[in-house]
Symmetry: C2
């Protein structure tokens, strides 16, 4: 391909809103343009790399036994009503009415479309497992799209869904997908961090996210300095740093006046003590709680409801007291998971006053009668602790767990933080910000139950299959490759994703240099090497800068001086190295071909 025909509009200027390297470089190197906020056009060079990412994903999905299908992007709302997500999804779901006033969804994911397709064809256990995927357009109406294609409105996603007769079969496919994902990212030249993850709004459990480090990442990752423990902070746990003290020498608890003292810091100063000696008690409001509360304190009058015929009964709203050691924070995702709730968030000030009889800042576990109390494991190790006393300007001291109060639930609900110790090896934990490129998880029966999927087992009995779900963002993966592989001059593509393997830059595209450049380009093309030939009448400096910006792995410079040598010489430079090397012109094609094939083989190994 000749540069002058390749429509590569490079830019010196950087778009004002481009704050991360991939966003800047995709615009500067002529890979991408913006149509509107969060909507983009891939230009020819960008699309070449995009298609390579797609193809690597497709190869590995096929190799893992998944089958590609293609449902429509616009799907009928009926399917989303069946699954319950028409109501459950918020405004990020793009809803459309057509000319007949029918409702449609511009798919953000495709659990419904895939499940509906399989449901109609599934009859016997002999058909299971089924693992289907698509690589297709998705839309999520992001309220604040940014970072280029890293968080766009329209994007391309590979999403796979599998159906199984039992958990063992789901485990096998889940494991195979995890292996395929590791291979995909390796082949793209990406360092990913696979982390344990809560599956969040998707439901289900057993889930792994594939993260790349990013200063603008959406996720906080907890990693161990000693072992390979890695988890999303929403799911991370840590080694226990508490032990149950025997209460023999603890004096009884007593009231202390704490006038005008509201925060733990103020209280520490006042009492000359540390936060870890406090039992922090917070009031949470949870929504759609599936956990049975019939025996929970203060909950006897709560009504249970069925949101839809097939959905389980839930308490639409319920309140909880949550106690944790004063130096720690409550992890709301863990809390919601324990409660089987769709959301758990701090109650409003007025709710706190109504439920505890005291203003915010004075809640405590002692004497709390009308709320279920959930305590973090750390609280079980505490005695002689300070707590709120359920009255304004009043605290208790010398409070001990079990002696002075009991909990309804004891669980791990702490937010792990840097400096905590690894639950696996005891090593020190640290944090990174990360972006999610892929996610595999066991969905279980959420969709197969709500959408009435069944099959006949070996005994002719109707059964519901269990499901897995596996996604990769194609655009994000491409952008992340650039995030990881760039320098101040531009992109530094891994061979597998580079839009071209070689850029040939004749100092002047004329005379002998032209002949040599055309010949070399032809030889390389015959070997299956992808070549961009800079045929422009630009100064060499401009061409070299563009070659660096575009990030093509090998640059070949052909000049009259080198050609005049005997034997004729050209210069080869690897994009990620500083030095040129002179190579005999007539050996160049063979040498380049060999090196490129080697690199590709290594990446794909």
């Amino acid at each position: 391909m000749n540069y002058s025909s390749a429509f590569i509009p490079t830019l010196r200027e950087v778009p004002a809103d481009a704050v991360i390297a991939s966003h800047r470089l995709m615009f500067r190197a002529g890979l991408l343009r913006k149509l509107a906020n969060g909507l983009f056009t891939y230009l020819p060079l960008g699309l070449r790399s995009f298609r390579k990412v797609e193809q690597i994903i497709r190869d590995e999905m096929n190799a893992a036994g998944a089958l590609e299908i293609k449902p429509s992007v616009v799907v009928p709302a009926e399917l989303w009503k069946e699954s319950g997500r028409w109501d459950a999804m918020g405004e990020s779901l793009l809803r459309v009415k057509n000319r007949l006033d029918n409702d449609f969804v511009v798919s953000p994911t495709a659990e419904e479309a895939f499940t509906a397709t399989v449901r109609d064809e599934l009859s016997s256990y002999r058909q299971l497992p089924v693992n289907l995927y698509q690589i297709n357009t998705k839309f999520r109406d992001e309220i604040r799209p940014r970072y280029g294609v890293m968080r766009g409105r329209e994007f391309t996603m590979k999403d796979a869904y599998s159906w199984h007769a039992d958990d063992k079969s789901l485990d096998e496919t889940y494991t195979a997908m995890g292996r395929a994902y590791r291979r995909i990212f390796k082949r793209c030249g990406l360092s990913v961090i696979p982390v344990k993850a809560d599956s969040g709004a998707m439901g289900g459990s057993g889930s792994e996210e594939f993260m790349v480090e990013s200063e603008v990442g959406d996720n906080t990752l907890i990693l161990c300095k000693k072992c390979d423990y890695a988890a999303n902070v929403e799911k991370a746990d840590c080694a226990s740093d508490y032990s149950k003290e025997t209460g023999t020498n603890t004096p009884p608890y007593e009231k202390i006046d704490t006038p005008n003292i509201k925060t733990i810091d103020e209280l520490c100063t006042f009492l000359k003590t540390e936060p870890k000696n406090f039992i922090k008690t917070l009031i949470y409001r949870a929504v759609n709680v599936e956990l049975d509360l019939s025996s929970a304190p203060g909950c006897s009058k709560l009504d249970r409801k069925k949101p839809s015929t097939d959905a389980p009964e839930v308490y639409p709203v319920a309140y909880f007291a949550v106690a944790i050691r004063g130096d720690l924070d409550v992890n709301e995702v863990k809390l919601a998971s324990i409660l089987k709730a769709s959301e758990a968030a701090l109650a409003t000030d007025s709710d706190v006053e109504r439920l505890t009889g005291a203003p915010v800042g004075f809640a405590g576990p002692v004497g709390l009668a009308n709320l279920p109390l959930i305590i973090d494991n750390t609280v079980t190790g505490m005695s002689n602790a300070v707590t709120g006393a359920l009255a304004k300007d009043l605290h208790y001291k010398n409070v001990s767990y079990e002696r002075d109060f009991e909990a309804w639930i004891v669980e791990d609900i702490r937010t792990v933080k840097a400096g905590d110790n690894c639950s696996v090896c005891g090593g020190e934990l640290y944090t990174k910000m990360g972006n999610e490129l892929g996610h595999i998880f066991k969905l279980g029966y959420k969709y197969t139950k709500s959408m009435n999927v069944s099959y006949l087992d070996e005994n002719g009995k109707s059964q519901i299959p269990t499901m897995g779900c596996y996604g990769i963002g194609v655009d994000r993966t491409l952008a992340s490759v650039i995030e990881e592989h760039n320098d101040e001059a531009g992109i530094v593509w891994p061979m597998s994703i580079a839009p071209y393997h070689v850029i040939i830059v004749p100092i002047k595209y004329d005379g002998e240099a032209k002949t040599a450049a055309d010949k070399l380009a032809g030889e390389l093309a015959n070997n299956g090497i992808e070549v961009l030939l800079d045929d422009r009448g630009e100064r060499p400096g401009v061409k070299f800068n563009d070659a660096d910006l575009l990030g093509i792995p090998f640059r070949v410079v052909i000049g009259d001086k080198g050609l005049a040598a005997s034997p004729a010489q050209i210069e080869i430079k690897r994009r990620n190295e500083k030095e040129n090397r002179n190579v005999d012109l007539d050996k160049a094609a063979a040498e380049l071909t060999e090196k490129i094939r080697e690199e590709l083989a290594q990446l794909n190994a």
Copy 2:
């Protein structure tokens, strides 16, 4: 690929709404399923063939110098407002509002997105021509989707757009695209009829449609029995079958009473004459007429308006009298094209009465003062004709063109029909119904003007580029391959589009037959041949029927009896032939590979 893992749910039953072969067979052979009216899921087998069509299109577009890009499918309404199509397109345009209440379009075509992308990058004549394409999802909110993917709501289209400094350059690209299209359809094994076409709502002129014959086609094609003339009826012309008679021996025209006679047939009986001796005069209402009417009869008071800043002035509504020989019909597309109007349709009865002073059925050209008269060429040859007399129950006879009335415009506005003579060779014309698979046309300046695209020419002067536009429906092309290649047993794939090249059917997938089948499948796969191995425990008859239904070009049957022969034998059957042939097992892979490569080479030649 093993059949049992390939998710191929074949059907004995045919969906009730499937009236054409491709629709029936895509469902029966497990290529496609329905998600909603006009929305489908391609299953694995269907997607394999779909991707082959895509890849052939991509190959040929690349070979013709077009560059692939990928704009978003959902695009901002602003671009469609710029081009004027936000208002001009009817309800088939799917419009969406997002959470911020911004308007978007789910793209039915992409003139706007492409033009906006090029506009921002174009500065110099040196960048031209540019030819960009995409193969991407489109949506058209069909009021009555039917015939499976032949007329769906969501579909995949290859659409290319080119920009040029002059008509010569546009001609070159237009010609290259025409060549590429012919190659694409040939490689898909399709017989297409390239026809001259009016570009209709798209605007512009110079246009060719690639049609396939279809009994349920949207288009009427006019073809010549003697030469290769082919045109859409909307655009077809024919040899002249009139000549101007000299008026020396025509008596003056005179009134005749025609009480209660309204139709030409009644009049023929009454006057004992034939329709071709009548001048049929019809009143048309045209919308958005760009033609200058300032000197046209009855139009002096009409107001011209600019629908938008950049759009040309138009008359929002204007009326015309249109006269044609009584045995012919007016072609409304030709009429609209002459008037440069977006639409021309028969006026209502009340409009006719108001404008002609007579009820419907008595319009005529003589004495018509307040309407511009447009006559078909045929009328110029008429003397002694019968016409309406602009009064109830009254006609004229002996009316002659020029002597008794004059026309404002004389043009070809007739609808050509079977039996007319070819304008090229004089041969007899006949008609076929056809479906459009592809369309190439010269758009001209419609979008580059309305969307303010410009570049600097060699003299540094700002110029507006001219545009071409080239589309192919991927789904329609695939369905048309099946329409052309099927028999009562199922699909008969051309090698280039077949989902697999070979289906291996062991009589029983067990013992020696299993060993031989696996070995042959492996050898073929090593040669790059795509193999489906029927490993199911079904009866041979079921497997043979499915193999025929699926339409895989080569069927290999492996049975114990053949394997026991010396040397071991298998049966090879071409899907489009009746007879089996016995082939030595150890020569089968080589023979099949050679035949398949030959066929592919022929199709791709």
